[in-house]
């Protein structure tokens, strides 16, 4: 078996004195799409924060590409090819669309390339390039945040609740793009509260509740009853 590209080993994390993750393990293979599911407050976003480097685990290890990167700065991980679209809207509301794309150039790509890639995929954004990103519709904002993932050619992509507050049609459109990214061989971790949105594109599913991994397995094998049980806190 090949080495996983991303691995969490017995990670604990806390906010102040309150521990939120009580030793979680996760292993993502190259090119794999992992769905991270769980009820509200389970610790999914916290896990994403740990992986992206924004939150330092209190114990345990974060391995990327076989190297121990526990405690590495988020910006260093980002430049190394870890692309995170955080919860909420992953955009700068008071910057224009174009300036948002300019921020993506820290990944080492040229602005012109990023713009071309983005506008060809989302022509709607092209019309709004000088508009403040915060004044766009929710769907457009989420397109803009996905654009960073699409244009900067990451090795690993982390998505936290892409669908939050969006119409189903738009969600479907966004997940088509995610599937396209995955098809290029990018390893993806997708966080969703509601499984149905995402199980279609995922290879593996991990169910998190109360800061612990409850179930992990092939996405196709996780049944409705397991999910329902976990959400009801059994």
């Amino acid at each position: 078996m090949t080495q996983p590209i991303l691995e969490l080993r017995n990670v604990r994390a806390s906010y102040g004195s309150i521990e939120v993750l009580h030793g979680v393990n996760l292993s993502v293979g190259r090119g794999e799409v992992v769905a991270l599911l769980g009820p509200n407050g389970a610790g999914k976003s916290t896990m994403i924060k740990v992986v992206s480097g924004l939150l330092r685990p209190t114990s345990g290890q974060l391995m990327i590409g076989g190297r121990d990167v526990t405690g590495a700065a988020a910006n260093a991980l980002a430049r190394a090819g870890l692309c995170t679209i955080p919860e909420g809207r992953g955009i700068f509301p008071n910057l224009t669309v174009r300036e948002n794309l300019l921020m993506a150039t820290y990944s080492g790509h040229k602005l012109s390339d990023i713009e071309e890639s983005t506008y060809s995929r989302f022509p709607r954004l092209s019309e709004r390039r000088t508009q403040l990103a915060g004044t766009m519709s929710g769907g457009e904002q989420q397109m803009l945040s996905l654009a960073r993932a699409l244009a900067t050619d990451p090795v690993i992509l982390l998505l936290d609740e892409l669908s939050m507050g969006l119409a189903p049609l738009i969600v479907a459109e966004l997940y088509q793009q995610v599937a396209a990214i995955a098809a290029e061989g990018v390893s993806v971790v997708v966080v969703e509260q509601f499984a149905r949105t995402v199980l279609g594109v995922a290879d593996q599913a991990v169910l998190l509740a109360h800061g612990k991994v409850q179930v992990a397995g092939k996405a196709s094998e996780i049944g409705e009853d397991v999910l329902a049980g976990a959400y009801l806190g059994s």
Binding site: F92, P93, E99, M103
Partner: protein, 757 residues
């Protein structure tokens, strides 16, 4: 007409300088959320540096300018960000402000040290001195033209930078969402360093330009920043074009006032009050208006405030502490020389002023930069009211000043955080400029405050006044404890913890805030009213308030012990200056240096010391022990048992190595306790018994020895005591404010509480 045009040009060129300063303030405030009160002081230091290079060392002007503005200023900014400001993320505004106050105090001290005011520095020339051009028949000096040019250049460069470069866009991105900037691969730390470097350059440029217009003096250059505050507030601390417009308006107001006041019909006084301080007050008045006219920020965009872990003080320990304090003062005051008594008295006066901050800033979380102003008003009231030291006069004076405090708070009531702090600063400056210089107040520069008339006791001696001050502090301190334990105290805490929740529960924010201000002003008034001696307006100057605020925050503004610590520390500083004249200069920068470390990495030595002091503040027994030890060392010196150098080294060792370790040692297991105590005791004995004057031949070597002693014994003892279970240390953030609520969390909380707005 011609004249009007001339003054317009003069006004605009003044405004150009304000604009440059204000834009620097905006740059750092927006990128790091820190309002840099020391910004003007940076410009002042830059102007002095330029003078040094250009006129003292005779470098050519372009080279001197280049070194000042493009080498030293950016380095200064980088260092400030890296070592002072970076640690401030997630701390409360009180701490942030205090640190910039510290920086301010540090820089003024440094300038006073390096360039003492007696040496003549008239040689500061304008650029192209004497050259003029004529535009529309008006003569304009090249210097003014250059000033204009610089402002325009700054505007253009900032615009291009912020909108056309990735660094500039990243600066704005950090403001929007710091975490997301990181997730994009940007480095917020570098962005912040860049912003601080840029800001220091802007301050430096303004300082050099202004020094050419005025003289090279510390105070006007520093207070320049007040004018810039006004401009920056007009620009809502973020909008640069508005800031520039505000600066122009201020410059014009100043120039037109100058023009009109030159006319013969212009009154010298209004209703008997002189208005000579009016011109200098204009920016402050504009600042006040701009602050009050700010649109109200929504209350619910609130913040999670973690409760300060100061325990509610118990009556028994408080009363014991008060009695012990008075007893100690009575006991030692008999042994002190007259001048030392006066110095200690000074410390207690400061401590009372510091105490006035406890209910207001410590409990209610409202920052005031004007505590001494109220003390000054108290002194005036006491000396002008009939009764000549009568106890009732004192009460009336306190009540009057408390009412003034509430009155001042009234317009500022909807402000909070930095805006409130600035409005109190504006008030302090206005009072200094417009009230303290009236013939009805400090007529000849000095007034006599009558000694309090206490039956059966003769207190018209320094010793009597010292004992009175310690009694006053103790009584007022108990009063503050009583407030904390009362319903009002809980309201004050609620005001700090969560204004929104407090309001939802039906509490009147306005009344609570007014009460806090009135109480605070009343306590401060006591400090002035009990002066019992000649006092001068300089004692109550705005700039003198800053070290008090600073050291009280360092000591722990949430406790009475913290106030005592802050006041005595400030008093102790002047003790140090008078006992060891060679260290006079060090004492100038000491409060600033201590305060600056508030923001250091929590593991940094000095902030650990501050931490240790803060945990000490609740423990009267340890505090008494620490004070007693310090006093013993002092007495040894006063009685010529040990030399001044041994006093200094022993005293600093006691303060920096022994006292901070007390809490840790108390909590260590028995055997470690003994080892650590013995270890420290050896250190103390070495510090005070070595014949420093003769054994070590230079000041530098003695200071090195001191540092080594502290490192060896202080840190050593800490290591020994280390394995003890740690007590809960409050963060450097005394007020205790951590992360922002997201809007979403607020919504959720509101839904769950059923208070959907």
């Amino acid at each position: 007409m011609q004249e009007l045009l001339t003054f317009t040009i003069i006004g605009l060129s003044t405004g150009a300088i304000y604009a440059v300063v204000a834009s620097g303030l905006v740059v750092t405030y927006t990128t790091s959320g820190i309002f840099n009160l020391a910004h003007g002081a940076t410009g002042m230091l830059a102007a002095f540096t330029y003078w040094q290079l250009r006129f003292d060392w005779d470098l050519p002007a372009p080279l001197a300018l280049f070194i000042t503005l493009f080498v030293l200023c950016p380095i200064f900014g980088l260092v400030t960000e890296r070592f002072v400001m970076r640690g401030l993320q997630g701390t409360s505004e009180v701490v942030k402000l205090s640190v910039t106050v510290a920086l301010f105090a540090f820089m003024i001290g440094l300038a006073n040290w390096i360039w003492p005011s007696d040496s003549s520095r008239e040689a500061f020339l304008k650029f192209y001195e004497g050259n003029k051009v004529s535009i529309f028949g008006i003569n304009i000096s090249w210097h003014k033209l250059i000033t204009f040019g610089c402002a325009i250049l700054v505007a253009i460069v900032l615009r291009l930078l912020l909108y056309r470069t990735r660094m500039g866009v990243a600066m704005r991105a950090v403001v929007d969402d710091r975490a997301l900037t990181e997730l994009n691969g940007g480095r917020p730390d570098r962005v912040a360093m860049f912003a601080w470097a840029l800001s220091a350059m802007l301050a430096g440029l303004a300082g050099v330009l202004l020094a050419g217009e005025q003289q090279l003096n510390i105070e006007p250059l520093v207070l320049l920043v007040i004018n810039a505050y006004a401009a920056a507030i007009i620009g809502r601390l973020k909008n640069l074009p508005m800031t520039f417009a505000g600066a122009a308006v201020l410059g014009l107001l100043d120039a037109y006032y100058l023009q009109f006041s030159d006319n013969s019909w212009f009154p010298q006084s209004i209703m008997g009050f002189g208005i000579s301080g009016m011109r200098a007050s204009i920016p402050t008045i504009v600042l006040f208006i701009a602050l009050i006219a700010r649109p109200q920020t929504r209350l619910r965009a609130g913040i999670v405030r973690i409760r300060e872990h100061n325990k509610v003080p118990a009556w028994s320990t408080s009363i014991m502490g008060a009695v012990a304090l008075i007893a100690i003062v009575v006991a030692i005051s008999g042994m002190l020389t007259r001048s030392n008594t006066l110095l200690l008295l000074n410390g207690f006066t400061f401590a009372i002023v510091a105490l006035s901050l406890v209910p207001l800033t410590g409990y209610a979380g409202q920052m005031s930069l004007a505590p001494l102003t109220f003390a000054g008003l108290g002194a005036i009231a006491m000396s002008k009211l009939p009764g000549d030291g009568n106890f009732f006069t004192l009460i009336v004076a306190i009540v009057i000043v408390a009412l003034v405090g509430a009155l001042v708070a009234l317009p500022a009531i909807r402000l909070s955080g930095i805006y409130l702090a600035l409005s109190t600063a504006a008030f302090a400056v206005l009072v200094t400029k417009l009230v303290f210089n009236q013939k009805q107040t400090f007529m000849s520069g000095n007034i006599s405050v009558p000694v309090l008339d206490v039956p059966f006791f003769e207190i018209n001696t320094p010793r009597g006044r010292l004992i009175l001050a310690s009694i006053a502090f103790s009584v007022l301190g108990l009063g503050v404890v009583a407030i904390r334990r009362s319903r009002l105290g809980r309201r004050l805490i609620a005001l700090k913890d969560s204004p929104a929740a407090a309001a939802t529960l039906g509490m009147s924010l306005t009344r609570t805030k007014l009460a806090a201000f009135a109480i605070s002003a009343g306590i401060a008034a006591c400090a002035g009213a009990l002066a019992g001696d000649k006092v001068s307006p300089q004692q109550y100057d705005f700039t003198q308030s800053l070290p008090i605020v600073l050291l009280t925050v360092v000591g722990g503004v949430g406790t009475v012990g913290g106030a005592l610590f802050g006041g005595l520390m400030l008093g102790g500083n002047s003790v140090l200056a008078s006992v060891v004249p060679t260290l006079k200069n060090v004492t100038k920068i000491l409060p600033g240096t201590i305060g600056v470390t508030l923001g250091r990495n929590p593991s940094g030595a000095a902030s650990q010391i501050a931490d240790a002091y803060r945990s000490l503040a609740n423990r009267w027994n340890l505090l008494a022990f620490a004070a007693a030890g310090g006093i013993v060392i002092w007495i040894l010196d006063a009685k010529y048992v040990i030399s001044h150098w041994a006093f200094f080294i022993g005293g600093v060792f006691w303060i920096l190595a022994v006292t901070p370790n007390l809490v840790g040692i108390m909590q260590a297991p028995r055997n470690r306790q003994i080892i650590a105590s013995v270890y420290l005791a050896i250190g103390v004995i070495i510090a005070i018994s070595v014949d420093w004057d003769n054994a070590v031949d230079s000041t530098g070597k003695r200071l090195i020895a001191l540092v080594l002693l502290i490192a060896l014994f202080g840190v050593g003892a800490q290591r020994v005591a280390e394995n003890a279970p740690r007590i809960h240390r409050s963060s450097p953030d005394v007020i205790g404010l951590t992360t922002d609520f997201t809007d979403e969390e607020l919504d959720r909380a509101e839904r769950e509480l059923g208070v959907v707005l």
